[in-house]
Symmetry: C2
Subunit: 133 residues, 2 copies
Amino acid sequence: MNSCSYINLTGVILVSVEYDDLCSIQCIHEEKVAATAELMPSEDTTQALAHIFKILSDNSRIKILFALMHNELCVCDLAAVTGSSESSVSHHLRLLRADKLVKYRREGKVVYYSLADEHVEKIFQQGLEHVIE
Amino acid sequence: MNSCSYINLTGVILVSVEYDDLCSIQCIHEEKVAATAELMPSEDTTQALAHIFKILSDNSRIKILFALMHNELCVCDLAAVTGSSESSVSHHLRLLRADKLVKYRREGKVVYYSLADEHVEKIFQQGLEHVIE
DNA sequence: TTAATATATGAACAACTGTTCATACATTAA
DNA sequence: TTAATGTATGAACAGTTGTTCATATATTAA
């Protein structure tokens, strides 16, 4: 029994598999795999990236963010523009707030939302470039 | 009974709600909502964007794409680098292929995958800038 | 042909997600 | 205070998704 593991720059073990036959069964290109493993970002980084894309992966949230590119809008306005219920919009805004994609200010009973920064617009731009092909 | 709808540039009805009281109950800022609705992208566009971000919203697929930034790798290599099963990697690659995020070439029994273009790297760059804050 | 191996794929299942509904909270006006 | 209204949130439910396992396909070697 031999074991074969690849460790990246952060010390996180990316792969740890035991082979019966000197690490050489199967089609693995050992040198390329080892070199690639060294260049991989940490697990935390890939998870953070996956998380932010998950937040952006819903049609209702995409619409909310597009709407906020031009105007500061309240929950009621966002529901009207996006064609969702106010409850649904509010739930989505909670996620967007948690990831600091939007900011808000309260004025009496009304809460106005706006984009936190220009990151969303840049990410959308890149996403659209791929979609358009 | 009055009805109040907003139509955007593509002709898609974004909102179509009936009010009992001349469109003026609730907190909606009519002018801002109408102006915003005009500037909204089409439903097809928002759905396409949501779809591409959904593809990028999984940690295993993020790892696969990062691995392919440096080297052309086969399914077996990708399984080793990402710490997933070959079956799981193959399922993910199918999705990535369907959206033209990766391309591949067969050499005998081995199929080598690589990034289709530089879009993924640019999107990741923007995503990371938000994550880093 | 048969055997071996790399990859692909369908089914099944657990885990997750978005919406709705009901309800709670917050603010203002009466 | 009470009523009205804008927003937030918990529970529930249907729909979706990622993984595993079994199996199929494709290519090469014998």
